[in-house]
């Protein structure tokens, strides 16, 4: 059953909960690394308001299409875009096309990104960012097909 992760910038209150929940879901307490959810400062037309939102991967698949190594793939059961780091050669083609700039490279030069908490989903849990978001700005939904 394919899913899609969605992020509504308007509904986001800039509380950083998803940013931290993502770190908690993927790292031990000693790992001080960037979160898969990015920072983006957004302003309104009046110029008197701003907030920092944390966009995350929406699994659009642009990176999959440009990966020369075919390291990036769409996982069949969930429909999420994942990476096989053994195949990644660190060419950074994916980073260049990512519309949300949510692709990282680890110390070994391998691509890293949101894995939609696929392990949690297997346990019957929700992705960490979806679960933690009080204002409901991050949601996941089933899509047809």
């Amino acid at each position: 059953m394919p899913y899609r992760l969605k992020f509504d910038k308007e509904k986001c209150i800039g509380c950083y909960a998803c940013h931290i929940a993502c770190l908690d879901a993927h790292h031990s307490v000693g790992e001080i690394v960037p979160s898969f959810r990015a920072f983006q400062k957004v302003t309104d037309l009046s110029g008197t308001f701003e907030k920092t939102v944390c966009p995350g991967c929406i699994h659009c698949g642009k990176c999959e299409h440009v990966c020369p190594q075919h390291a990036i793939y769409r996982e069949k059961t969930t429909g999420f875009i994942l990476v096989d780091q053994d195949l990644c050669n660190g060419c950074r083609s994916c980073e260049a096309v990512c519309p949300l700039q949510v692709i990282h490279f680890n110390e070994a030069g391998k691509m890293e990104k949101c894995d939609s908490c696929v392990e949690r989903i297997k346990e019957g849990r929700e992705p960490a960012c979806v679960r933690t978001c009080y204002p409901g700005a991050i949601t996941w939904e089933k899509i047809d097909g």
Binding site: I13, G14, C15, I20, L23, D24, V29, T43, T48, T132
Partner: protein
Amino acid sequence: MSQKEHGKKQVKKAVCGICASGCPMDVYVEDGKIISVEGSKDLPGQSGGLCAKGAAARQYIYNQERLLYPMKQVGEKGQGKFVRISWEEAYQTIAEKLLSVREQYGARSTIFYAGYPKWYRPALLRLANAYGSPNYCTESSTCFQASNMAWKSIYGNDICFPDLANANTVMLWASNLYHSNTPMSKSYRGMKARGVKIIVVDPRNTVTAREADIHLRLLPGTDGALALGMAQVMIEEDLYDHEFVEKYVHGFEEYRAYVKQFTPEYTEKITGVPAEKILEAARLYATNGPAGIMFSAATVVHHINGVQNYRAVHTLVGLSGNYDRKGGHLARPPVSAPVNEFGKVKRYDGEEAIGQKDFPAWFALPCEEAQCTRLAEYILKEEPYPLKALVAFGMNHRMWPKPSYLQEALKKLEFYVNVDLFLSDSSDMADIVLPAATFFEREEIRTMRGGMVGLSEAAVCPCGEAKNDIEIIQELARRMGLSEPVLSGTYEEYMNYILKPTGLSVEELRGHQGGVQAKHLVFGTEKSYEREGFATPTGKAEFVSTVLEKYKDAYGYDGLPVYRDFREVSEVDRTVYPWILNTGSRKPQYFHARVNRLPWLAALEPATLVEMHPSDMESLQIQEGDRVVVTSPGGSMEGIAAAVRNNLPGIVHIYHGNKKGEANELIPLTYLDPISGFPGYKSYFCNVRRKEEEDAISTEI
């Protein structure tokens, strides 16, 4: 069953205790270690959310600075050189020292202090009472209590929160709830969807204010003038509750005469809020009821006219007829569970406590704790008598103005023990430090809505040799041979004592995630004042406070909620300190000083940010990210410049509690509200300049 099996994993049900919001939490435990946390989603209304601080909770329990063993200072006080000792040695030393201080100087020379969290407070008060000291004090000396005082001086009871579920208009007064109380996000959006009209009072254009129908952008510290301006409109346009005012208000004529001058135009001059917005907000609040005012714990009272400012705000509740009304402010919830302890233990007041001479209204109303806002001076100047020992739970010197000065004072004490979660700088002067358990490592009774009572489960065993605060208090009472029946048993017995009026036992709560309804319930009905009157000296809602009036001659307190402007009263040279300084306005990732040490949270932004409007930075030729020096008549600090469009021009916002740049160093010891003793953290003055090379040289000399 309270535990679901997930392979080897267990899911425990705790209530997050990092701040006071109390979010229900699913704690995934494997091999005795917490591997994951998320918000609970078991009951209707539980969304499964957590805020950034809660989501980082594993870095809270497994923090590198966690205190794991009792330790004693072996270096000079202040060196922070500690070696591990046994609990036996710790208890023995503390009991001997405290008994010898009592013998030599009297019980009053020992101070009992409760910081954060608050859950063990009644037990600590019992310990202080049994020891015989009037000096039980808490972090409420600079937080919340002044808001409660302001309310109590009018209505006689503890502050009554708004009935948001049934209100048609809600005024959020100085509350950026999306960031200060993130779990309220859903109910805020729910109110909007229900068509509730929202008025937000806030100098900043926050995410919360942006969704309001009316945003009143006042200058910090002018809240009282704004409230009096709204009262003027309500009276002038005859939009107030005549019946309530005539039958139940004391001092209305005097109040009416006083507010007359606060016309919308005059109020605009003081507050900066356009006159037409004041009119619009007053009319909406008065006519589209029932209406509630969502308070904030300490924002309005962190001004030198704080209590009077908040009294002016609180009078609007009675004036508009929203006191003890469904959808307004209910004096008691429709149904609640009666429990022992919180709010039920009286402070021993047989002799003068610290702060009593300085802030008599604090004791007259009464707050049931001493007022320690001038703690450093009381210790150093031996006011009103020598203070020799301090038993602290969660001492955080960064809470006070001029924190470095309090550190000096703590050094002078003969004996200081600090029970804490982390080995913080505040323990540097301690003789002994004891490791406290986090909420993950102990059980705790929690009262809930609808007369329900729940139990926060102990998810894991305590790290190292950490112990539950109340067990520590109980053992100290035993070791000193103090007679205190409620503390004399086990912690289980103490919890059962809390529960006694409900007719439930702890055992009956175990395994019930959603809590259990009390067997005995307390029911509240509207308009209780018609039957009971008000618990004030006049029996009425005192728009003119007879308690404050008593101190008119000796202390200059006014019975009326008068507005005194900090810009006039403080006499600071504005040519030197042109900017208004506002410290501590909430950020979603911080909770005072406590979670700065969580690396994921600390990495969200550089510390300490000095936030200004872009136009102000331009005029000072300061760029984003520049190191800046902030000075005030009280002191100086360094920080990092940040441009924030949401701020009003002319105002500098700095978050407090960070050793990388401590905003509270800018606040002079004497810059206090004379009624409550609360520091004027949110409206002072400063100068900001870019840090130059010579600054580095001069600090080295």
